[in-house]
């Protein structure tokens, strides 16, 4: 009884078109999900690096009083007794030079008097009043500034949220379209087979008997479409990654203050190949099949209930 297929749904147009439609939807869903996940992961890694941290920057001695070491020690003393500052670590001069290298050129960076940078780790439990700290730092060594990357992080988070929201909208729409396609297929299937369904009813078939044929049909087609979509999406994502890795930026010159393609490239490179991304992608066809089965069953039973 489970295997019965009196309606020959397999011969309907839906058999050819539903998998295609669902393949496209799953493809788009995979793209959107990967985009959202990797934007989130990318930002999360920056967050982990930057949140709860701050940088203190002491200008080179030429503009102030005292030697470089004196000024640094004055600041370090202050920081060590500031509650909430868990750790303060001067950045080695060579690292500072390397940070500036892309902007000044190697020779220039090596030759210029460098500012002193101190990395801070801040306590999560005991928030530091950065405004007061800044004042006290100015006293300890005039010209000293503190930057907690808040602005940077806020920008990055806005951006990540934009990507995530856009991906979310796309995902919702894609699921909506998939459900629409399935319900549409089921409705037209019911219309095409209306007479046969009436006959089945009249000779004693219960609604379940008919719904089962539709839900199995829809589920199977969605699974097929989902697999096709996921295979194509994986291929596309890997292709994109390969392309970007092949031609992407290294550490060379050329950058700009408002726009760094390298950042976006890194975003795409990081995309979609962690275990979470793979799991989401591999689950998509089954999710599609499940959605299709439920959508089919629900809409068949709803339509049948309105039949005499």
């Amino acid at each position: 009884m489970w295997g019965r297929n009196d309606l020959a749904l397999g011969r309907d147009a839906s058999s050819r078109f539903l998998p295609g439609l669902l393949a496209v939807m799953v493809f788009l869903a995979a793209l959107a999900a990967t985009g959202a996940l990797s934007a989130r992961g990318f930002i999360a890694s920056w967050d982990a690096r930057l949140d709860g941290s701050a940088t203190v920057q002491i200008p080179p001695p030429s503009t102030g009083t005292g030697t470089r070491v004196e000024r640094r020690e004055a600041v370090m003393r202050l920081l060590r007794v500031t509650p909430g500052v868990q750790q303060a670590r001067p950045v080695p001069e060579k690292t500072v030079a390397r940070l500036l290298e892309p902007w000044l050129g190697a020779e220039l960076a090596g030759a210029l008097p460098m500012p002193t940078l101190i990395d801070l780790r801040l306590s999560a439990d005991q928030p530091v009043d950065l405004t007061r700290l800044a004042e006290r730092l100015e006293n300890a060594a005039p010209g000293t500034m503190i930057d907690d990357h808040a602005r940077w992080l806020s920008d990055a988070r806005t951006l990540a949220r934009t990507v995530t929201v856009t991906a979310g909208v796309v995902l919702v729409l894609v699921v909506l379209a998939a459900v629409l396609a399935v319900v549409f297929a089921v409705r037209t299937g019911l219309a095409v087979h209306r007479e046969e369904i009436e006959i089945l009813h009249l000779i004693g078939a219960p609604d379940r008997y008919i719904a089962r044929q539709f839900q199995r049909h829809a589920g199977r087609l969605a699974l097929v479409g989902g697999i096709i979509g996921v295979v194509l999406a994986s291929g596309t994502l890997m292709g994109l990654r390969w392309w970007l890795t092949g031609t992407g930026p290294g550490s060379g010159p050329g950058a700009d203050e408002v726009f760094s393609p390298a950042g976006l490239t890194a975003l795409v490179q990081a995309a979609g190949f962690g275990w979470l991304e793979w799991a989401v992608i591999l689950l998509l066809p089954f999710t599609a099949a499940l959605i299709a089965t439920v959508a089919a069953r629900t809409s068949v039973l709803a339509v049948l209930a309105r039949m005499p």
Binding site: D6, A8, I203, G204, P308
Partner: protein, 235 residues
Amino acid sequence: MVRFENVFMRYDGGPVILRDVSFRLEQGSFHFLTGASGAGKSTLLRLMYLAARPVSGQISIFGRDVTTLSRRERPMARRRIGVVFQDFRLIPHLSALDNVALPLRIAGTRESLIREHVPELLAWVGLSGHLDALPATLSGGQQQRIAIARAVISRPNLLLADEPTGNVDDRIAVRLLYLFEELHKMGTTVVIATHNENLVKRFDHPRLHMEDARITDRSASRSASAAAATTAAGE
């Protein structure tokens, strides 16, 4: 077996088809249902096979009030009723054999039993050469005979046939009527709607005649009904 009590029936905005009709058909009875075209024969049968509900009144079948039957209860009741529809209603993509086997399959009958009984019955209605034919490849009369075979295959307790011989000549019609007689002898209650006066005359069964939204139960076809009197080709 079948009991109508004060049944009132009309379709939305249509003419009254049954006005306060009460009657009962005993188990194992055999009736012809006659009346002019549009008198309501198909409607009466539809009420009996639960495809329509009366506006008011009670209809009991197998001793149960079917007007209050829930959607979940109807399938089981329907499995005990065999119906030959006026327009056949075969499933187009199923072969003759599969169409006839359908009620058995829905009821969960063993496949071996199906393979045994279905071809036998199709042979009786003269279609042994068309077991695998799709309905569209069969003539009108052949389709009608498949519809009849499907209605009787599960040996229903109640058999309703709507103009079951409209597309066959009288020789075949008589043969089909014998099939119904056979079931009747095994205890099935039979109601056959027909315009074919020849048949009604030949088989000596009581007649339910529909006229003016009422039903008259006449014990034999001999009594000259209004319809019979106006028959163009009377004897």
